[in-house]
Amino acid sequence: MTVSENCAVISNKMVSIDGNLITFYSEKIANSTLPGQFVEVSCSNGGMLLRRPFSVYDKNAKSLSLFVKSVGKGTRWLSGLREGEQINIIGPLGKGFSIDKGSRSLLIGGGCGVASLRLLSKAIVEAGGECDAIFGFRKREEIPRTIVEDFSRTAGHLTITVDSGDYPVRGNVKDRLAEIELDRYGRYYCCGPTVMLKALVPLLSSRATEVSLEARMACGLGVCYGCTINTDRGGKRVCYDGPVFTMREVDWNDL
């Protein structure tokens, strides 16, 4: 059930040049969040009108963590939150990933898109499945420093690419994908910037691929139709019918 909860900040750590991992005390939301779902975080104390949507990066019985990349007013304000501050959060929201126990999965994340894949990888492993991951970042400084550790127990093989610079691997996720045998995986899960997702369409849309989309949202609750995208079944609300869609159903020309 979706609830509104006042959550105290347990910790707020800078984990990359522009990314913070913020952990909130939460019993209700954390408890019921499924992989791929998101929350809407109030930024009204920072003077903003609308909430900001974030995937749940991680959770345990009494807390949930968000990976927040600073791109504007709201995210910068959130990055400055101090321990103990109370923030109102609504969640969980949206439809998450579907998990296929039988097959090996590949998780493909770009930038802060990796945030929606951590819970997923945990769930795959818990369900007895296996997964590998390819994550792309623009440059080394943007790689969350906890990421290898965070995924090491759940992702069998983890490749990290950077657009510029040589560490860990220069290139982008599409290049890496082109190098591997795609039949190896029964499922693909992608989350990242629209340009990255679009680049993957030719390779992956004929396969069992789920994508998590981002959209400008007003309500995040399915009522305003501010976040509608085109699909083969007509307009769909990213916040309500998504954010996870099959790659096939999305009208990529419209994005």
Binding site: T2, S4, L49, L50, I90, L93, G222, V223, Y225, G235
Partner: protein, 305 residues
């Protein structure tokens, strides 16, 4: 002392609370309903329904500025027939009285939609969204002529079995002529204001920051403008006025009631915080106790010009 928080909305009867939810910001989506279900709400207004289905405007559809929101959803909806088919499933058990918002491109279209809704048992009334920018047969912007507004209300009135609320755009609310025309034509109530036409540019891309070139502004920045209009219109008509525009707190709602609104409606801020009706009700109740006010209508009677 016994405090009375109910309001009489003309032929729509008595609402148990003066707080409504505005068209376009209410929906039966599950997460939202879970947050809203316990709130002290007098009535909810559906998203505006049109005759045929509409896919809505291109993205981006929303833009946030300092204390305002600009939206251009483009009335995305499945059309009145599908609405009627799904009504009982969707609205049958939401627990709040429902007002159906409708809009047409012409007097006839309004009437056709109104007529099709007669098969429904549920609704409390219809709200006529009169902000249609279409140009009519005489070459006039449909909504810019008081006479035309009167015709819409009359046509809907003669074929609908529901009471009608005429919802005014800000430019229909600058003088009393539109509201008076709606009253004369038999409207049960007037609601105002709809969003204010607005624009914002993405300068480095040399184009609008919203897909549809321009949109409508809502949110707290609108409040003083809406309040002034509610004050003026409520003094020009005898039917109840439902005030809206930027309400974000109990104090805001009290301002509207004091200015002359019979009920208030929350749009933008209800999407940001679905628990707002409860907070507002709490403030109204404190306010009435503090100042020994027994009924909501007394709030405006105490206003000193």
């Amino acid at each position: 002392m016994i405090y009375d928080y109910s309001v009489e909305l003309g032929s729509m009867g008595r609402l148990k609370s003066p707080i409504m939810i505005s068209s376009g910001t209410f929906g039966v989506a599950k997460p939202y309903m879970e947050l809203l279900c316990e709130q002290p709400i007098g009535a909810v207004v559906t998203k505006t329904i049109t005759l045929n289905s509409k896919t809505g405007n291109s993205q981006p559809r929303v833009y946030e500025g300092p204390s305002y929101l600009i939206n251009s959803i483009g009335l995305e909806n499945h059309g009145v027939d599908r609405f009627v088919d799904c009504y009982n499933d969707e609205y049958g058990e939401i627990g709040f009285p429902v007002i159906v918002s409708i809009s047409g491109n012409s007097v006839d279209e309004f009437a056709t939609i109104a007529e099709k809704l007669n098969t429904l048992e549920g609704p409390l009334g219809l709200e006529l969204n009169l902000s249609c920018p279409n140009v009519d047969s005489e070459g006039l912007a449909f909504g810019s002529v008081p006479k035309r507004i009167g015709e819409v209300v009359e046509a809907c009135g003669s074929c609908s079995r529901f009471p009608l609320i005429a919802k005014l755009s800000p430019f229909q609310a600058i003088d009393e002529s539109f509201a008076v025309a709606a009253e004369r034509a038999g409207a049960a109530a007037i609601s105002l204001i709809n969003t204010v036409p607005a624009m914002v540019l993405d300068i480095h891309r040399f184009r609008s920051a919203i897909g549809a070139l321009s949109g409508g502004m809502s949110g707290p920045a609108l409040k003083p403008i809406a309040l002034k209009m509610v004050f003026e219109i409520s003094r020009s008509v005898n039917i109840p006025v439902i005030g809206m525009g930027g309400i974000a707190s109990g104090e805001d709602a009290i301002e509207f009631l004091m200015a002359g609104a019979r009920a208030v409606s929350i749009g933008t801020m209800n999407m940001v915080d679905p628990s707002l009706p409860g907070q507002i009700m709490g403030k109204i109740s404190d306010f009435m106790k503090l100042h020994d006010i027994e009924s909501l209508t007394e709030i405006s009677r105490r206003f000193r010009l």
